[in-house]
Amino acid sequence: MLKQKLLCGWLLALSGSLAFATIDLDLSDFDDDLMRNMDDAVKALDSNIANKDAQASATDAQFVADGLKWAEGYFTGKQSAPDAVRWAAQGRELAVAIAAATERGDFDTAFASYRSLVKTCRSCHDVYKSPEL
C-alpha cells in the first residue's frame, strides 16, 4: 500500500505541481517526497470516506497526521513561518479527528472534518506552494 502511494506520489511529481518555494523563505530542505505522498493520501482519504472504508480511511488519515506533525516541526524550526506552523497543527488535529471518526464508523463527521482539512491544506499551499508548474 505504501509502495503504491510512493509510486503515485512520483507520478504526481511528474506533473511538477508540488515543488515548494517562496520568495523569502528557503525551503530547499523541505521533504517534497513526503508532501507528494501526503497529497496522494489526502485524495485516497476522500475516496475511502465516500466508500465508507473505515480501515483504509483511518490508515490514510493517520499517514496525513504523521506527515503534518513533521511539517509542524519543520516550520517551527524555520522560526519565520508561524502561519505554516498553525496550519500544520490544525491539519494534524483534523486528520486525527478523521481517523477517530472513521474508526467508530461516523463517516458524516469524518467527511465534515475532511472538508476542513482540505481547506487548511489549501490555505498553506496558497502561500508556500510554488505556482510554477
Binding site: 505541481s17 517562496t22 475516496s47 475532511y114 489549501r122 510554477e132 508548474l133
Partner: protein
C-alpha cells in the same frame, strides 16, 4: 460460436456507416475501462437531480488565451498612478512571479472606465455592449487558480485536474443529469476562429475522461452540417439508408432478445436511432435561417468582426431552447487577424481591440436575447479563462499570465448580480471573496441541482468527484 463472432465483426463494420461513425463516441464503455461504467444501461437517460435546480443549461464562454481583467472589468486607479514603477515588494511577497517573461514595470491600462447599471459595475470602453448588461451579471473579482501555463490552467479550469484524463464539467453534468433531449448531444462545443480548440488544448478540455465516452463534448462545425460524418452520403438514398437501419434494428433486437445482459449491444442499437434522428435535428438546431434579421443583428451576425462568435452564440441560444445541457463556446482569433488568441504578451492594445470587438456584441446580444425570451432565469452564462494577466508589463506593451487574481463572471440561472470579491490595489492577486475554479464548478453544479460532494464515480477503485477533493458553493451569489 463462429456465427456470433462474425456477427460482432459485422456490427463493428456497420458502425462505420450510416452516419453512426459520428456517434461512436456516444457508445458507453468503448475504450473505457472503469468499474463505474459497468451497469450503466443508458448513460444518457434523464436522472433526477439531488435537489430542485435553479438552472437547466450552461453556456460556458471560454476566452481561450486569457484576457486581461485589468483592462476589462477590474479598474485600478493605483495601478495608473504607479505606472512605470517596479512591482513593489509588498505586493509580490510570497508569490513566485516569474513565468516566461520576467517581471517588467507596472503597466497602467489605457482604457477609459465607467460604472454601469444599478449595480455600478466597472467596465472599460473595450466592452460597451456588455456594459449594458451588468445588472444581469455577478462579477467574481477574487478569482484565482493554479499554474501559469495555458495547458495546465486550462485543464484545471475545465476538468479540475492538472494533467489530462479527467472529465470536463459538461461531461459530469451529463453523467449527473442525463440528456434532456434524446435527439441532440447534451454537451456541445462551439469553437470559433483560429486556435479555437481551447487555446491549443483541443478535446482534452471537453473530454469525458474516465467517465463513459458517451459523455464527452460533441464539437459542432460551422456551416449547415454541424457534426462530421453525420450527413447521409450522397451515394446512399434515404430509402437505402432506412432499409439498412431497419435491417440492423431487427438483427439487433433478435440478438438482444437472446442476450438481455448485453448493454453494449443495446446502447449501439440506440446510437443508430440517435444518429438517424440527429441527421434532421442537428442541422435544424443550428439553422439560423428562421431567425429574424433583428435577432441576427443583436448578436452581430451581420457584421464581419462579430459574425463568427455571434453565429456561435445564436446557435447556443437555439441549443438551450432545445434543452441541451452544456454549451461550450470558445473564443478564438478571427480568421483574418494576425493576433494570437487573447494571449497578449505583446501589444495588448492591438490584441484586445481585436478580441473584444469579436465578442462584446455577441455576448451582450446573447444575454439580452435570453432575458427577453425568459431563458436567462434558467440558463447560466459563464465568462471564463484559464487565468488573467499581470499588472506588470512584459515586452513593454503586453502582460504576462496571472493565476493569482482575475475576474470571472456568471449571469442568469439563479445567480445574484453584483460585484463579489476583489484583487489588491494593483490587481495582482485576489484578496477578498476568493474563488477558485473548483468553487466555480461546485456552484454551477449546485444551480443545476447537483451536490458536488455527492456526484461521484468509481474509477480504478476510487470514488472520484468533479471538483476533486476541493470546491465550495459560492453562497454569496446564490439567489
Amino acid at each position: 460460436m463462429s456465427n456470433k463472432k462474425s456477427r460482432r465483426e459485422f456490427l463493428s463494420h456497420a458502425a462505420l456507416g450510416a452516419g453512426a461513425a459520428a456517434l461512436s463516441s456516444l457508445l458507453p464503455g468503448l475504450g473505457v475501462s472503469t468499474a463505474g461504467a459497468t451497469g450503466i444501461v443508458d448513460p444518457l437517460a434523464p436522472k433526477p437531480p439531488h435537489f430542485a435546480p435553479k438552472a437547466k443549461s450552461v453556456i460556458w464562454l471560454h476566452m481561450a488565451g486569457a484576457p486581461s481583467s485589468l483592462d476589462l472589468f477590474d479598474y485600478k486607479p493605483d495601478l495608473i498612478k504607479l505606472h512605470g514603477q517596479p512591482l513593489p515588494d509588498s505586493f509580490g511577497k510570497n508569490l513566485k512571479t516569474a513565468t516566461d517573461g520576467g517581471v517588467g514595470a507596472l503597466l497602467a491600462t489605457k482604457r477609459s472606465w465607467k460604472q454601469h447599471g444599478e449595480t455600478g459595475a466597472w467596465v472599460s470602453d473595450w466592452l460597451p455592449n456588455l456594459a449594458t448588461q451588468v445588472d444581469n451579471i455577478a462579477f467574481l473579482k477574487g478569482t484565482k487558480t493554479e499554474g501559469s501555463t495555458h495547458v495546465i490552467s486550462s485543464l484545471k479550469l475545465h476538468t479540475s485536474g492538472l494533467t489530462p484524463g479527467r472529465p470536463a464539467l459538461g461531461a459530469w453534468i451529463q453523467y449527473g443529469l442525463g440528456s434532456a433531449n434524446p435527439d441532440l448531444p447534451a454537451f456541445v462545443v462551439l469553437p470559433t476562429g483560429k486556435g479555437s480548440a481551447g487555446g491549443g488544448r483541443q478535446a482534452t478540455i471537453w473530454s469525458s475522461g474516465f467517465l463513459p465516452a458517451s459523455y464527452q463534448g460533441t464539437a459542432f462545425r460551422q456551416g449547415d452540417s454541424p457534426i462530421l460524418h453525420l450527413a447521409r452520403p450522397q451515394v446512399v438514398t434515404a430509402d437505402e439508408q432506412r432499409n439498412t437501419l431497419e435491417l440492423l434494428k431487427s438483427l439487433n433486437e433478435h440478438q438482444a432478445a437472446h442476450y438481455p445482459q448485453d448493454t453494449e449491444l443495446q446502447a449501439r442499437a440506440r446510437s443508430y436511432d440517435l444518429a438517424f434522428r440527429m441527421q434532421k435535428t442537428a442541422p435544424e438546431a443550428v439553422d439560423l435561417s428562421k431567425e429574424s434579421e433583428a435577432t441576427k443583428k443583436l448578436y452581430g451576425v451581420d457584421e464581419h468582426a462579430t459574425q463568427e462568435f455571434g453565429t456561435a452564440l445564436l446557435r447556443a441560444r437555439r441549443l438551450v431552447e432545445r434543452n441541451v445541457r452544456f454549451i461550450h463556446a470558445i473564443s478564438g482569433t478571427p480568421e483574418d487577424s494576425d493576433v494570437d488568441s487573447w494571449d497578449a504578451h505583446n501589444d495588448i492594445e492591438k490584441n484586445h481591440t481585436v478580441m473584444t470587438r469579436s465578442v462584446d456584441k455577441p455576448i451582450a446580444g446573447l444575454l439580452a436575447d435570453l432575458k427577453a425570451r425568459g431563458l436567462l432565469d434558467t440558463t447560466l452564462v459563464v465568462w471564463t479563462s484559464e487565468f488573467g494577466r499581470t499588472p506588470y508589463g512584459q515586452t513593454g506593451d503586453g502582460r504576462d499570465h496571472n493565476p493569482w487574481g482575475y475576474t470571472t463572471w456568471i449571469a442568469g440561472g439563479g445567480i445574484k448580480p453584483g460585484t463579489y470579491g476583489a484583487t489588491d490595489e494593483i490587481g495582482l492577486r485576489a484578496v477578498s471573496g476568493i474563488v477558485d475554479t473548483y468553487d466555480l464548478q461546485a456552484t454551477l453544479l449546485h444551480q443545476l441541482g447537483l451536490d458536488h460532494n455527492k456526484l461521484t464515480f468509481q474509477h480504478l477503485g476510487r470514488s472520484e468527484r468533479a471538483t476533486t477533493v476541493f470546491g465550495e458553493v459560492i453562497k454569496d451569489i446564490v439567489a
